[in-house]
Symmetry: C2
Subunit: 209 residues, 2 copies
Amino acid sequence: MKIELENVEPAQIEARSFEIITEELGEFPLIPGTEPIVKRCIHTSADFDYAKNLCFSDNVVSLAIDAIKNGASIVTDTQMGRAGINKKKLARYGGTVQCFMSDKDVAEAAKTNGTTRAVASMDKAAALGEKFIFAVGNAPTALVRLYELIREGKLDPHLVIGVPVGFVNVVQSKELIMDAEVPYIVARGRKGGSNIAACIVNALLYMME
Amino acid sequence: MKIELENVEPAQIEARSFEIITEELGEFPLIPGTEPIVKRCIHTSADFDYAKNLCFSDNVVSLAIDAIKNGASIVTDTQMGRAGINKKKLARYGGTVQCFMSDKDVAEAAKTNGTTRAVASMDKAAALGEKFIFAVGNAPTALVRLYELIREGKLDPHLVIGVPVGFVNVVQSKELIMDAEVPYIVARGRKGGSNIAACIVNALLYMME
């Protein structure tokens, strides 16, 4: 078998990828203004399901961009999500990315309360009293806890990116957060991941350039 | 709509997820000995395509486990992949995870040679003369470079985990590496990612317990 490589300059690889994605999406209907986010999720996963499963609350994209512009910081539920976010671009506006999952006090609180560390790390974020953007790519328990904190009036985030992945309470946690009266970007169903969480944040950052 | 959460203890979530995956895979034929890797990729992505697209060279799982046991280190092509690997478990055997993508000399070499940084970081790894495990979850150019280095006799890895994701030369890069006479674990086609690269390494580590 002859394997032929396409000759694309390094700087053009991403643009060429987005061309292919746009071509293959064809006439598939996307919500105006959300296209760069949907396409970047497909770019990150090579999975066209994201054209169907991504859900956006009203005006969430402009809300998110305003928040970032005004220096909002981002809380993730994994170090992987943290690693994937373009921290240099975020820092231009004053924001940082925080992940409390490896913190000693989070491990202790989780043990004491019989919760996941993800729950304890959302509690820690809430206790800081700052208005954050949450990017949850792994733990449905984190998303459920955000729902509870918001409903109890203990947390008021700019928005919640709710894209945990998996099989136990993942589907439900996403339906809950879409019912929480908080701006959201959610990948409905089982799919998502830390990479998807990071790429949604990055898509927002790249839309601001 | 009533949203009901399944009551699963934090410590049991992963086991319950694997039960569901096993149930839904049903009688789907997997290569004996590779099941924990395939199932962990599905666990990480909620994408059952990995049951079909993962390719393993002969005895690669036992080869990989032996290499890790003997202290092999891992080179990734993203900081996200690095972040996702269980470094504590790997350290038990003496291995570390290295990612050269943010190194200054790599950025300079890429610029000088008109390559991607991923290519330059593979060259840097090769120049170290160490027998590594490569875990490529993002850049097909990295995988193509590994193929060239192996064919030119400049690199002799323990194995290559080849799971870049995307649309430009991704499919081809994986076919090349499977043709390179190196032990491999490859996700054939467009799918993969840094999360998948990390989870394959973790699956190997958890099989060793």
